[in-house]
């Protein structure tokens, strides 16, 4: 986190040329005082961040190299990388990693297409813009667990309405096999987070100069050409940020799967795997190893987006 000093008109602190003119001692004192103030203002937030994020992360790493099981208080000890070896050598981990990646890729892809369509429509909306934008956000405002329950009950053979719809067998058990269960889980994810994607893309669309479209139209470009040659390239920063956020989010999918199948029918995600080790088995060592691995994977995804695909994180984007 960088310390942001408000710019002083005519006297930017720290510049050599100005320091000579204004007299060295005065500027240095003032700079020092401002630095100090800035540090003091930031300190509580930094301390809070250290307490609530850095400490738990470090603690998880420490636990992950130990045998710690709350049910067996005596058996504690350092085991090095044994827990990681146990996780990485388990077919369950790879199975769940595949499931998680599958849900992430499919749901983010669908969200991207739908979100783009929604954003384009909202961008062009002639009347009721505020109302449309607000109402589109409703699914995103619903608590994930509640949304998951709503979809679960809708598809449940005994209570749901879905099996009463035409072309669907009345006793279809949606959560009784893997691919049907995945379908409902992905639908829930898509329904819930498409609005988020749409809003991020809408913000991106708003930054594109309308003059470009007019010029293109004068040059005879059709709607598709305008979309591909103007909208997409100029939307790339917003698009990548939206994809980054959603991918990181989707990779940690937990609620929908937990409510709908609890991970049965081979629909378990890595987060549920971690939950099972940590919360159900109280095997903190093994569970922390799973958590740390998920953390590393999330870092990796962020790294790929930022470095390889060139996603501008908001702070860099401001300067461009």
């Amino acid at each position: 986190m960088s310390v942001a000093v408000p710019p002083q008109p005519g006297q930017t602190a720290g510049r050599k040329g100005q320091r000579k003119r204004g007299g060295p001692t005065q500027t240095t004192d003032r700079t020092k005082a401002e630095r100090k103030l800035a540090l003091m203002l930031c300190a509580p937030a930094v301390v809070a961040m250290v307490l609530v994020t850095v400490y738990p992360i470090l603690y998880a790493i420490v636990l992950s190299v130990q045998t710690v099981d709350l049910r067996f208080p005596e058996e504690r000890g350092f085991v090095g990388l044994d827990n990681y070896a146990a996780v990485l050598s388990s077919p369950l981990w790879w199975q769940d990693l595949f499931n998680t990646t599958f849900v992430t890729v499919i749901s983010v892809a669908i969200e991207l297409v739908l979100g783009m369509a929604l954003a384009l429509v909202m961008h062009r909306a002639l009347f009721g813009r505020g109302l449309i934008r607000t109402s589109v956000l409703i699914p995103y405002g619903i608590v994930t667990v509640v949304a998951a329950f709503a979809w679960f009950f809708a598809f449940d053979p005994s209570s749901g309405f879905v099996n009463n719809l035409p072309f669907i067998p009345e006793d279809k058990a949606w959560f009784g096999n893997r691919w049907d269960a995945f379908t409902v889980i992905i639908l829930t994810e898509v329904w819930k987070t498409t609005p988020f994607m749409a809003l991020l893309l809408l913000a991106g669309l708003a930054t594109i100069d309308n003059g470009l479209y007019e010029a293109a139209r004068v040059d005879g470009a059709n709607a598709w050409q305008r979309f591909v040659k103007i909208t997409l390239p100029l939307l790339k920063p917003a698009l990548l940020v939206a994809l980054l956020f959603r991918t990181l989010d989707a990779f940690r999918v937990f609620d929908s799967i937990f409510i709908m199948t609890r991970g049965s029918q081979d629909t378990e995600s890595v987060s549920i795997l971690g939950y099972n080790q940590l919360i159900s088995r109280l095997n903190l060592g093994l569970g922390s190893a799973v958590s740390v691995l998920i953390f590393v994977l999330v870092l990796l995804i962020a790294f790929v987006f930022v470095r390889v695909l060139g996603t501008a994180v908001p702070a860099q984007g401001d300067k461009k």
Binding site: L41, P44, A45, V47, A48, L51, V52, D69, L70, R71, F72, P73, A86, V87, S89, S90, L92, W93, P157, S158, D171, A173, F175, G176, N177, T261, R262, G263, S264, Q265, L273, N276, Q277, I279, S280, R281, L282, N283, L286, V290
Partner: protein
């Protein structure tokens, strides 16, 4: 700064919540407040007897209810999180029968004084006491039990089948429009209940000691074969791989089922929800695997423990002695239909009203029950491992259950050693 303050306030609020701030330790009567962490039993029976005991204690203690979630998994998670953090605000713990080994091994249960043990074990069913012992010591006190029965339609079958095969034969003869069989097959504890009852009824057990596997091959494969046969039968419920007690109950009430394996709560439920079905509903003993070997029905229920971090252990044991008194067990049975743990109570006329015509059957079922391996300190691992090996039960080959057997054995062995992911 504001953020820091908000977090500080939140932290204080959280700490307060956890430690039950407010110093409500001293109740009006001058005695201690005992916090009983248990799920909210909908009939209100436990609350009623707790209130009576508090009054009878002459101000020595007041029992205060702290409700846990309705689902057993979620109850356990809350309890172990608090106990893992040595929370002293827990006094009495409402524990599922399968958590005994785990809680005792982790030293979360205060040892039971000898005079209390004497008072609370009198006339209690032996299988129930099995669920309350760890390494031969009584560590928790049974308050109510539960067991599964075979519920069937007397208009479709004159006499209840004695074995699983017989039941499936009858169902298949009736066909899927009337002959369906309702059971619990989702990947959760209910599946372990089913599997364990079959394995026990076949004549073997999952464990022979807290850390030793038994699972003899022939009887286990016989049990697995039945699971496979039923699951792949055309009279299995269409949702068998996701079914639980409630979906089984609803399936039976819908009318196209002739058989249901379930706890006695389905009886009053049918009375209000499906009177036509209720008219024809009859109970029988849990089916056997072999005609010449009596079945070993599942057993459930709640045991009470005293937290070893409690600061009022003496009063807590006093309270337990009161809670499990015969008249209180009867009251809980009358209000919520929960079977008493004392065998002598089944001769009382009040019980005949709770289980009209099948009170003796409930007693017989509990008396002969085959408990799940709750003496294992790693029961949760065991349960997850069994669920993973057997779910979905439709994949079990009824003719050749050997591969499922290998997987089950392998998983149980790993779970006992607590190796690898589950």
């Amino acid at each position: 700064m504001r953020r820091g303050m908000v977090i500080a306030i939140a932290a204080v609020a959280l700490a307060c919540g956890l430690a039950a701030c407010g110093g409500d330790d001293e109740s009006a009567g001058g005695g201690v407040t005992l916090n009983w962490f248990i799920f909210n039993e909908p009939s209100g029976g436990p609350q009623k007897v707790a209130e009576r005991c508090s009054q009878q204690s002459n101000g020595a203690y007041t029992i205060n209810f702290e409700y846990l979630p309705a689902q057993a998994d979620a109850q356990r998670e809350q309890l172990v999180r608090r106990l893992g953090a040595e929370d002293s605000s827990l006094d009495l713990l409402g524990l599922d029968v399968v958590w005994t080994g785990e809680f005792a091994n982790a030293r979360w249960l205060a040892p039971i004084p000898a005079d209390t043990e004497q008072a609370v074990t009198e006339n209690v069913f032996e299988p129930v006491l099995d669920t309350a012992r760890f390494e031969d010591d009584l560590v928790v006190v049974p308050i109510w039990s539960n067991t599964q029965l075979l519920w069937y339609r007397k208009d479709r079958v004159p006499q209840a089948p004695e074995t699983w095969d017989e039941m499936i034969d009858i169902g298949e003869r009736l066909g899927p429009d009337t002959g369906r069989i309702q059971i619990q097959g989702n990947r959760y504890e209910g599946l372990v209940v089913w599997a364990n009852a079959l394995i026990e009824s076949a004549g073997t057990s999952i464990l022979s000691a807290p850390k030793e596997i038994l699972l003899e091959e022939t009887p286990t494969e016989q049990a697995l074969g039945i699971m496979g046969r039923l699951s792949n039968s055309r009279v299995a419920a269409p949702n068998i791989t996701t079914s639980n007690e409630d979906s089984a109950r609803l399936g039976f009430e819908a009318g196209n089922s002739t058989f249901q394996i379930n706890y006695p709560f389905v009886y009053p439920s049918a009375k209000t929800n499906a009177p036509d079905v209720f008219e024809q509903m009859e109970a029988a003993r849990y089916p056997a695997v072999d005609a010449d070997k009596p079945s070993k029905p599942p057993i459930g229920g709640i045991n009470i423990g005293v937290s070893s971090f409690s600061q009022h252990k003496e009063e807590a044991f006093e309270a337990i002695e009161c809670l499990v008194k015969p008249e209180n067990q009867l009251e809980i049975a009358e209000l919520g239909g929960l079977p008493p743990v004392r065998s002598d109570l089944y001769d009382r006329p009040e019980i005949e009203k709770v289980y009209p015509g099948f009170a003796d059957l409930v007693r017989e079922s509990i008396q002969n029950a085959g408990p799940r391996p709750s003496q294992s300190p790693a029961y949760q691992d065991l349960s997850l491992a069994i669920q993973r090996a057997l779910h979905p039960t439709t994949k079990i080959d009824a003719q050749n259950p050997q591969s499922t057997y290998e997987e089950l054995r392998n998983n149980v062995e790993k779970a006992i050693k607590r190796e690898g992911l589950l």
